[in-house]
Amino acid sequence: MLSDTAPRRVDPPALPEARGPLSAAVLGALRGWPPAMPHLDQADPYGDDLQLALYCCYELHYRGFADIASDREWDVGVLGLRAELERVFETALRKDVPAADGTVAEVTAELDALVVEQVEGRGPSWHLRRDGELWQLREYVAHRSLYHLKEGDPQAFVIARLDGPAKAALVSVEHDEYGAGNPDRMHARLFAEMMGSLGLSTAYGHYLDAASAETLAEVNFMSLCGLHRRLRGALVGQFATVELTSSPGSERLVRAMRRLGCPEQAVAFYDEHVEADAVHEQMVRLGVVAPLLAAEPELARDIVFGVRASSFLADRFGALLLDSWTRGRPTLRRPLTDAPTPAGSMR
């Protein structure tokens, strides 16, 4: 019941560097400078500047930042900026994914489609399994750390917005993500151990400056849906997408790591997810989505939106990695030491 694991202080990360006027405005507001609302008309909804700005707004609700006052979380200036950024992001997503028809049948069809496996798929885990290199695997893990070091946290926000069987089942899955009472089995902790054994920094937020806009957008979508009660259907759709697609992807990463000769400690995280997410898939479909739709069928439209938007963003992330890797280029904004030197040296 009680763990022997020594409690450790998690130091909040340093503020990242701005990537443009929007992120500069948010960072300024966090530091307590007078708020300056930048123009959003020309903003790229999926670009580095907007995604970093949004990520920084959301991080206040998780671990915060070093030397930034905790009460910035509810600072009206910061919240005002966040609302504008969210509007641009959500509007773009609603435009870029096919609109749902609002039927329960469509939710079922959408989830069914997620569990059809490709014999020959395309995506980072397929590439890594087949012929990916160690530096590419390390890049993949560094990108993913932006989510996995707080695995389960964005989805935990939705608990208070659910009731009855859907709530109970979602909490069961989350309980498992949090190690089912054992902090040594907490998925975020397993992820950190994997990072350490791959020679990466295990510090929370260490790779924020290095992470691509595509990486941040996936996490931002979870935070957006988790923090808005209005979007609880979309959060459940996002959660279902991850839980339904994770098991085979994790299996491919296990094989990639074994092929690359990674230590067993590194393999443990994805190895755990093969079996854990085979269970979670069933619990999410039967325990969360089905009773939620039975109680609130009007959420069907947003559940489908959550599935489609998170798949859309996952595809963007996958495309970035594959496009860059096939050209021998690193995908982190601050390349790892074993990555090829960008542009010029690669012929």
């Binding site: 569990v115 059809v116 496996e117 490709q118 014999v119 020959e120 798929g121 069961s172 309980h175 498992d176 089912a180 098991s247 085979p248 299996e251 093969v274 079996e275 854990a276 997410d277 085979a278 269970v279 898939e281 069933q282 619990m283 039967l286």
Partner: protein
């Protein structure tokens, strides 16, 4: 009378059993799962038998170049269970 343990039979996937379970295999090996819910493979395709690894899923071929199906089958047969 003790409350009956519930076992959920899914459509085309595993059996779901709640609570920690110990599964005894034909060769006498005992495999334990401490998960809140355990998915027991009944399609017999799992590489992690007796637990589900989603191998029951329908597979579609989208490219002619694919040979993974055969590779998968070979792996499944050579991989030790559990």
């Amino acid at each position: 009378m003790a409350e009956a343990r519930q076992i959920v039979v899914t459509d085309d996937g595993p059996l779901l059993v709640s609570g920690p379970v110990e599964v005894v295999l034909p060769d006498g090996r005992r495999v334990r799962s401490d998960r809140p819910v355990t998915a027991i493979c009944v399609c017999r395709r799992s590489r992690r038998a007796p637990f589900c690894d989603t191998s029951h899923r329908r597979k579609v071929r989208t490219s002619d170049a694919a040979t993974d199906d055969e590779e998968d089958r070979a792996q499944r047969h050579s991989a030790p269970a559990g």
